[in-house]
């Protein structure tokens, strides 16, 4: 659900792949944490937030384009992650779980932390909803009336970082960005206002996630993959329905 909220902003601002790159960074920091036997969430959260700021800063600078910055970070951190895990103990079940996601891997402390982060993301998004709308829809106008656009860019990347941290464990680092992109694309097909788009994305993402989870239990498949497949099916259905 968080992912869907953020997705609205990220997709419209053309930053949707930032999620992917942050998840790769999450992978690197997770394998680092596992190698030293520390709880991955505690290490990953600050690292991902820091890197999200760095990516935002680089893409602000205009010397490096946003997508290039994202490319550099995601492949770079993936390489570091692979390096760390192969040097320490090779690919074991834990790392595999982090890459492709697993519900069973979520323990009580992860759950508490996730709920806490979810509340932060949700309330920040709610408070700044109108501002985010303005910054996303027309940056120049926002700047001209004296709004600190840079602050909101960093707020967006901060929220994106938190979202990735929450979703990483379940969806897996390789598939988390789908949670950000799919619900928005689906919701966009059937809404003409920003408000309905936001609400609809949250609903779509929630329903798809629930269906994916049920499917993953029934068929004994990884949850990340089943959620993505459900999302794709929904997208296809909606597109076909719209065209009739």
């Amino acid at each position: 659900m968080c992912a869907a909220l953020l997705g609205v902003v990220l997709v419209l601002k053309k930053y949707s792949l930032i999620g992917h790159s942050l998840a790769d960074i999450g992978f690197a920091s997770t394998s680092f944490a596992l190698a030293f036997g520390i709880s991955p969430l505690i290490i990953s959260t600050p690292i991902i937030i820091l890197c999200s700021f760095l990516i935002m800063y680089l893409s602000q600078n205009k010397k490096i384009q946003g997508d290039v910055a994202i490319g550099i970070f995601s492949t770079g951190s993936l390489a570091i992650g692979v390096l760390i895990s192969s040097l320490s103990f090779g690919f074991n079940v834990d790392v595999y779980n982090y890459m492709f996601g697993s519900v069973l891997a979520v323990d009580y402390s992860d759950l508490v932390m996730s709920i806490f982060l979810f509340i932060i993301v949700f309330s920040l998004f709610f408070i700044f909803y109108n501002r985010l709308f303005l910054v996303v829809s027309d940056e120049d106008f926002a700047k001209s009336i004296g709004i600190n656009v840079v602050f909101y860019h960093f707020l967006i990347s901060f929220l994106a970082a938190l979202t990735i941290v929450i979703g990483m464990r379940m969806m897996g680092t390789l598939l988390i960005s789908s949670l950000i992109i799919f619900p928005v694309v689906i919701a966009r097909k059937c809404s003409n206002s920003f408000k309905t788009l936001t609400i609809l994305s949250v609903i779509v993402s929630f329903v798809c996630f629930l269906l994916g989870m049920i499917a993953s239990f029934l068929l004994n498949i990884p949850i990340g993959a089943s959620v993505v497949i459900i999302n794709i099916l929904t997208l296809l259905l909606v597109s076909i329905f719209k065209n009739i």
């Binding site: 109108n130 027309d138 001209s144 920003f194």
Partner: protein, 232 residues
Amino acid sequence: MILEAKNISVTYKVGHRKNDILKDINFTIEKGEYLCIIGSNGSGKSSLMKALLGLVPCSCGEVSFKLSKNEISYLPQKNTILSDFPATVYEIVLSGSQKKGIILPFYKKENQKKALYALKLVDMLEIKKYNFGELSIGQQQRVLLARALVKEPKLIFLDEPCAALDEATSNRFYNILENLNKKQKTTVIMVSHDSSQVEKYATHVLHLDKKILFYGKINRWLVFNKSVKCIH
């Protein structure tokens, strides 16, 4: 005086070369003036406007306002809103009422009333629930004007507002502006191509070609313009 530009220069870097876009621009604007910035393509009109608004950094010089940013509004040249942005006309107009500051950015009843009034002013009230992306360019431009007017600014910047409009619509557009300028003493700064409109509405003219060629009242401009034409 509400705005003063002192020695503004703007330089863009293209590779290793520096391109001077504007050089030593000096002028002041009083309350209630209607200033048209004119000049050929590439003369730096839009850059001047962006420099005044702080969207483009000045390489030297400074711009000082005697009013707060909350009393300034801006209508961009190309609509920078992605043309397929999923928002309704009403949402976009309402977003114009946001102000700078740390107050929580929620809309009040009063803002909603003003948004509806602004929509009425540009004759778009019936289509307030439409998707912005589905409108024609002229309609989009009118929506953006409503967005610029919704906070009842004291100073409004317009960057070629009528470039994409037909004659009837742009006349309407100019009439709305004239009303604001005359009745509410809203100061207007506009980049324009259309010389007949400049002569009809402007009180001051700034003719630009990287530096100021002419700056002054409209009646002096008409004399100046005639004498230039005579020489040619």
